[in-house]
Assembly symmetry: C2
């Protein structure tokens, strides 16, 4: 795998990135290198159409990396297209072991699928064929499994701080909770007052949330949902 | 630290446990060994008063291990009492590194506090003095940080299974989410469509949940809460 060129708006970051990679860079779509084997569009979902309008590579393999965007958005712009979607949350400062990151691949032909799977297997040990409908579902499931739990951590931290307690006291518990789901289905692992139908504790908790109507509403809705699983 | 005796109802498990520990056991409260330095009541919260009624150890240090039960429940039964609360989720088959488990200690006197802290430090590197009010809050926060995220994992798994996708595809993402909160406050780490105010994706997700009214309600409430943080 050889990266020929990076394209973008911000010349400073492009310079830095291209230096790190050892490749060229361009900020002008006219200067996009025309003979690459693959063009990878890794921008925010809303910016994809804008980029597509700028490039003219109808015989080249073009892919995007977005969770919720169907593969067909690329169809008007090339005869060869696909999706190259790493299911992970990224920040610039993160140290990520890419060999563990699931890569979800889609392509408009078996030949393009093979090319993309080969490339993904260079990066990761977990490469899966996932169609656009499944990728949409995956993105939704990731909101439940990643974005929403983080909100609940924010709420826990807030409640603790108000009572002069540090959030770090919960970290071993959170670690254990997420370790368990690597070994068994979460459906077998629910604990806490709701699954025990421990109404005394639930009422005590709701009292503690008396002056926090939103947290109280969340507590009630999630508790009722757990109770419905009994 | 030497365990003299284990007391309980189920003779089979007591036999097994006492053999593992190398100590005696009793199922009859009359046979409880009267000269121990510490009596530790590790039963479900509702069963604590029943146990207390059976024992007669007014000069002995008695502790319970419950999150939501005030220390004062022990006051009528001894002049020396406290709480010995490990903040962790336990199942029989779990392998837990106890040195990482936070032990929350409360006692009715500085002398008893010292004894309990000494004991806890034999087991864990994270021993904290936590009063009954803080412990109640801690238990509530643990519901938000552990029980409720597990419910969201159940929902994610359900949505995935309905679309022939395996839950394990989300594990690296969940792992990364909980790794990040060991390094920064979750308040700085919220990602996803809600915090970006990406209404297009949010509406797509709500459509996907059209036939799941409870999941849809949870999605809407948690999304609205994240949006209110912007």
């Amino acid at each position: 795998m050889h990266i020929e060129q990076v394209f973008g708006r911000n010349e400073d970051s492009l310079q830095k990135l291209s230096k790190e990679i050892g490749c060229g860079y361009a900020t002008d779509s006219e200067k996009i290198f025309p003979d690459a084997d693959l063009y990878l569009i890794a921008v925010s979902e809303n910016a994809i159409p804008e980029i597509l309008e700028k490039i003219n590579l109808h015989n080249k393999l073009i892919v995007h990396t977005a969770g919720s965007v169907p593969v067909d958005i690329l169809q008007p712009y090339s005869d060869h297209y696909g999706v190259f979607y790493p299911l992970q949350t990224f920040s610039k400062q993160d140290d990520i072991n890419f060999r563990e990151v699931p890569f979800c691949i889609e392509a408009n032909s078996p030949e393009n699928m093979e090319k993309l799977v080969d490339l993904a297997q260079n990066i990761s040990d977990d490469v899966r064929e996932i169609n656009s409908e499944q990728r949409r579902i995956l993105h939704l499931a990731a909101v439940f499994a990643c974005n929403f739990p983080n909100l609940l951590y924010i709420i826990a931290e807030h409640i603790l701080h108000e009572n002069n307690l540090d959030f770090d006291i919960l970290l071993p518990l959170i670690k254990q909770t997420t370790l368990k789901i690597t070994k068994d289905s979460p459906a077998n692992l629910q604990t806490g007052p709701a699954i025990r139908n421990d109404m005394e504790t639930i009422h005590k908790h709701l009292e503690l949330l008396e002056d926090k109507p939103v947290y109280k509403e969340i507590y009630k809705l999630l508790t009722a949902t757990v109770i419905s699983y009994q």
